[in-house]
Amino acid sequence: MSSSSALLGKRSATEPGSPVLVVEDLRTRIHTPRGDLQAVDGISFSLGRGETLGIVGESGSGKSVLGRTIMGLYTDGPVTTVTGRVTIAGKDVHALSAKELRSLWGADVGMVFQDPMTALNPVKKAGVHLTESLRRHRGMNRSQARARAEELLNLVGIPEPRRRLDQYPHELSGGMRQRVVIAMALANEPALLIADEPTTALDVTVQKQILDLLARLQGELGMAMVLISHNLGVVAGRADRVAVMYAGRVIEMADAATLFEAPHHPYTEALLAAIPRLHQPPHVRLEAIDGAPPNMIAPPVGCRFAPRCRYAQDDCSQVLPVLDPAAVDGVATPGHSFACHHPVNGGRH
């Protein structure tokens, strides 16, 4: 896309080779009237330029809270307690002042939301959503921002961008709105993009278009991307590495191919088995994981998955397994780690 070359001019001050995003032992505790809820419980990873980390997990596993804590939208305060460290483009997010955070948001890190029907202000034209961010972070005047907004709409594949600028969100289709949301997140070419269930609210044909668009833009802009989804299919083939979350913890992380071929954690195995497949004979019972995720106000002492795990033994409900590097037949498999006492597919720590 020719217009994207103009957008590649500015690159944030990340040194080549150094990771864009570093998350160290991040914990988010949400205070609710019924007690404290440990939504994110000790998560660490790092992400380099152009890399995509997929985060999968079922509803309530803490993936969205993780995304928002990384952004700094959840901070250490009266409502939530945050410990650990998040570094975006060299800046310690949770040490920034409110003002510094606002300079980080929309400039160094952008966010794509789940539902494009609600992520755009219904009383603002599509163009305004883009120009206000450009004027805020780049000090552009009205006409510069408008020209640039048109460029952005073109970049995200919206036909007749000039006309669309003056349309209200309700005049655009769902897919088109999500493209506007993406353009909004990318307006200032952030080093990091957090996409929280970017396709969940869209129909299947549009889902693929949006995922392809995200992948293309990531390549063109060299962003790091955190792709959050409950859908393994969304993450497969789009993410370099995949982290599986369960009850606030990452229970397995590996490069995408390894994870899908030889998962070591029983939960990952069960998740993969629960995907319906077209070549399955008809009337075969679909695999499902029995039970429900634990209550995060009072989580179980040992492995959080133990009550639902078919391989669980006595030690599982007593000792919490930690995320350690994996090895198969004594040979370390780099980049693969899991948290389980009784792994499957020949995995060992």
Binding site: L73, G106, A107, F113, T118, L120, E132, M184
Partner: protein, 317 residues
């Protein structure tokens, strides 16, 4: 658009017919006999009867109404039946600006007070300031307006001596003097309205602030002030705008208590005074004007929804 306006004009005419006929019926039930008001008490019954005959009071209500309606349609609201027999239209033309100014100024002041308070409250919902504002607005709402007026007079006119009371300077004489003298009565009106607006707007803002697009605006790095004024206010203002319409229309004719407290020559006092003497022509004319303003104000409010929310522009027209 043209069709909507036509339909609205039809509705307006229907409402005015019903209101004026209803007023006519009510006024004819008044115990005050205009004949007694005009001649004074203690005359012979025959004299009163003759005057009533002359005034046409013995005709049927319907034929009197139709008479009145006929001349009202030509723009003639008649003359006061009680001496001095002034032109009703002149009296209304003198009183109306006072009432309109009070209502508009009061409303403007109420908005100036309530919008920042509601925003602060909603943005820090559950916090100390929110609780203080909540309690304060509740307190103001529970104070009857004559008491609020007296308090305003005690504080600003008597104790602080910042503003005068009981004087009215016409806007044509001196704009500054007019605003200066209108300040306290307008403030009295504004207090109760502001308390109401603050509560309504706060609740709607809290709902709006939980929307995804607010989070999206924050995630773009927009400031709290930008988020509140540019993103949250408009989508939250519908209930308040509806209330503004109802309040404005209501205030035009019913600021009687404030008019009495501050000795202002407004429409409210005009109607009450006329009803007192049985001056049905005056009551009739004033009510017609008040009803017209009420309906027109709310027509404007209805049209403003389309300005506030682009989604209902097409659905409506």
């Amino acid at each position: 658009m043209g069709r909507t306006l036509m339909k609205r004009a039809g509705e307006l005419a229907a409402v005015l017919l019903i209101v004026s006929f209803g007023t006519f019926l009510l006024v004819s039930l008044l115990p005050n006999d205009p004949a007694v008001s005009i001649l004074g008490p203690g005359r012979a019954p025959a004299e009163y009867a003759a005057l009533r005959e002359e005034l046409g009071l013995d005709d049927s209500t319907l034929s009197r109404y139709l008479d009145w309606l006929g001349s009202a349609l030509t723009g003639d609201l008649g003359q006061s039946v009680v001496p001095p027999q002034v032109d009703v239209l002149d009296r209304i033309a003198a009183a109306l600006p006072v009432s309109v100014q009070l209502a508009v100024m009061g409303m403007g002041m109420a908005l100036l007070i309530s919008i920042p308070l509601a925003m602060w409250s909603a943005y820090h919902a559950g916090g100390r300031v929110d609780r203080v504002i909540s309690g304060g607005t509740f307190g103001v709402l529970s104070v009857p307006s004559f008491l609020a007026g007296l308090l305003v007079i005690m504080v600003f006119a008597n104790a602080l001596d910042w503003f005068p009371r009981a004087q009215w300077v016409r806007i044509t004489e001196s704009l500054a003097g007019n605003l200066y003298h209108a300040f306290l009565p307008a403030l009295t009106i504004a207090l109760a309205e502001a308390a109401l607006f603050t509560r309504i707007l706060r609740n709607d803002l809290i709902t709006t602030l939980q929307e995804d697009f607010i989070l999206a605006a924050k995630a773009k790095g927009m400031s709290a002030r930008h988020v509140l004024f540019s993103d949250a206010l408009r989508p939250s203002s519908f209930s308040m705008v509806t209330l503004i319409g109802l309040s404005l229309g209501r205030l035009i004719g019913s600021t009687v208590i404030v008019e009495y407290l501050f000795a202002l020559p407004g429409l409210g006092s005009l109607v009450i005074g006329a009803a007192d003497t049985g001056d049905f022509v005056m009551v009739q004319g004033a009510v017609l004007v008040i009803a017209t303003i009420y309906v027109l104000t709310n027509l404007l409010i209805d049209l403003s929804y389309g300005v506030l929310d682009p989604r209902i522009r097409r659905a409506h027209v």
